[in-house]
Amino acid sequence: MGAIREVDVAEVTAAVKDLCITTNYDLPADVYDALKAAQETEESPVGREVLAQLVENADIAAADRVPICQDTGFAVIFAEVGQDVHLTGGDFEAAIHEGVRRGYGDGYLRKSVAEEPAHARRNTTDNTPAIIHTSIVPGDKVTLTLMAKGGGAENMSSLSMLKPSQGWAGIADAVVDTVSRAGSNPCPPVIIGVGIGGTIEMVTLLAKKALLRDVGSTHPDPRIAAMEDELLERVNALGIGPQGLGGRTTALDVFIEEMPCHIASMPMAVNVQCHAQRHKTVTL
């Protein structure tokens, strides 16, 4: 075991604040490059025009330091805390919420969180609470990943508890059906995160974590990489296209994460992500 390293949670707050702002202003390079590449392959003139607008929009947001999209999202934080870290100076989760509060305030980001969802739906006015997923990992570092998750695409996501007999064909059909029904709603071209296995809460987390991969990356397991290729081809054959106006570019990529499941179960989830796929990681 290494020496214990102290990390003041004030550093966490500062890092989260910076992540909120920069994630919302700067489209990741992998997504930007994928949108540019799609302009070359898209057959629909309207689709090419939409893709050109999205590239120009990313350029404007980065140059003017304004949000890529007015829906600056629910702040989802994946925190990996090294087991040789001692967090000092206050409550770790409170420090993350404070970083979100400062980032969404100082960065002129939209506050999009409502409390009492079933009734009052009052805006919490500071975009808190953040959604926090913490895991303990080896080492003496703290790694924070922020995903700014917009509502329109999240609303098109799905969860299915399939029968094991439905197999891969059942899973693939459910993914394609989810994208097909979503149509123009989630701001295509989308990125599709698919979770397979685990339990009801874990499969949705797998689907969300799948979205953290770089667009264009290949899964290290060739079996899963082939499944992803198959789904991307089927989804892009739907004809939905950029903004649902017709075209070949319905999705930029499909990512799958899987884990073992109960012998009686076959959980699967699809987390739909718009083209404004905003996420960024920092290590303390």
Binding site: E43, S44, P45, V46, E49, V50, Q53, L54, E56, N57, A58, I60, A61, D64, R65, V66, P67, I68, C69, Q70, D71, T72, Y108, L109, R110, K111, S112, R121, N123, T125, G151, G152, N155, G183, S184, N185, C187, E233, R234, A237, L238, G239, I240, G241, Q243, G244, L245, G246, G247, R248, C274, H275, A276
Partner: protein
């Protein structure tokens, strides 16, 4: 594709001239309203009271902006998913609303109301909020400031780019465009 230049408020003649797939550039006033504002507007109409802007020929923009930075007219300002306003849209059309700007699918009821009342649904590019904000030259909150990003605002736009998705003749670009590019695998 050359865009048709149109101005608001919209007349029936202009609405009838628009066809699914037409690119347009809109100049004039748009009324910003989304979920919470629509709930209140419809409650006012149902109670027989006045809504806070003239609905005759009006175009509503389903949008909730990010806060404006100092010196800017508005923050990022792209469309939100229109389907959440489907429950409210037919009543507004019956009271004079002529145009809606958003993104995403509408129900059969909304599309029927567009035929019956001579109204049009435009899509703006979702996720292009920084680009679209540059076409907004005026921004005045006229109702429900307590709703923050969900307040009703009167926006002045110049050459605001959009595309006709549903026209008043039954045309539907989402269906037609998808059909043209779908293929078997």
């Amino acid at each position: 594709m050359a865009a048709k230049k149109i101005t608001t408020p919209l007349t029936d003649d202009v609405v009838r001239s628009l066809r699914a797939g037409d690119a347009v550039e809109i100049t004039g006033a748009l009324y910003q309203a989304r979920d919470a504002a629509h709930k209140r507007l419809v409650a006012l109409i149902e109670a027989g009271e006045e809504v806070p802007f003239d609905l005759q020929g009006a175009v509503v923009y389903y949008m909730g902006p990010s806060p404006a930075k100092p010196g800017n007219v508005i923050g990022s300002a792209g469309p939100t998913t229109s389907g959440r306003m489907d429950a409210y849209a037919p009543l507004l059309m019956r009271h004079g609303l002529k145009g809606m700007i958003g993104k995403g699918l509408r129900t059969a009821e909304v599309k029927q109301a567009m035929r019956d009342e001579v109204a049009v649904y435009f899509a703006a590019t979702g996720g292009a909020g920084a680009l679209l904000a540059r076409r907004i030259v005026g921004n005045e909150v006229i109702a429900y400031p307590e709703l923050g990003a969900e307040a009703v605002a009167r926006l002045e736009v110049v050459d605001f780019p959009a595309i006709v998705v549903n026209d008043c003749h039954g045309g539907d670009l989402y269906e037609e465009g998808r059909g043209a590019y779908a293929r078997d695998v």
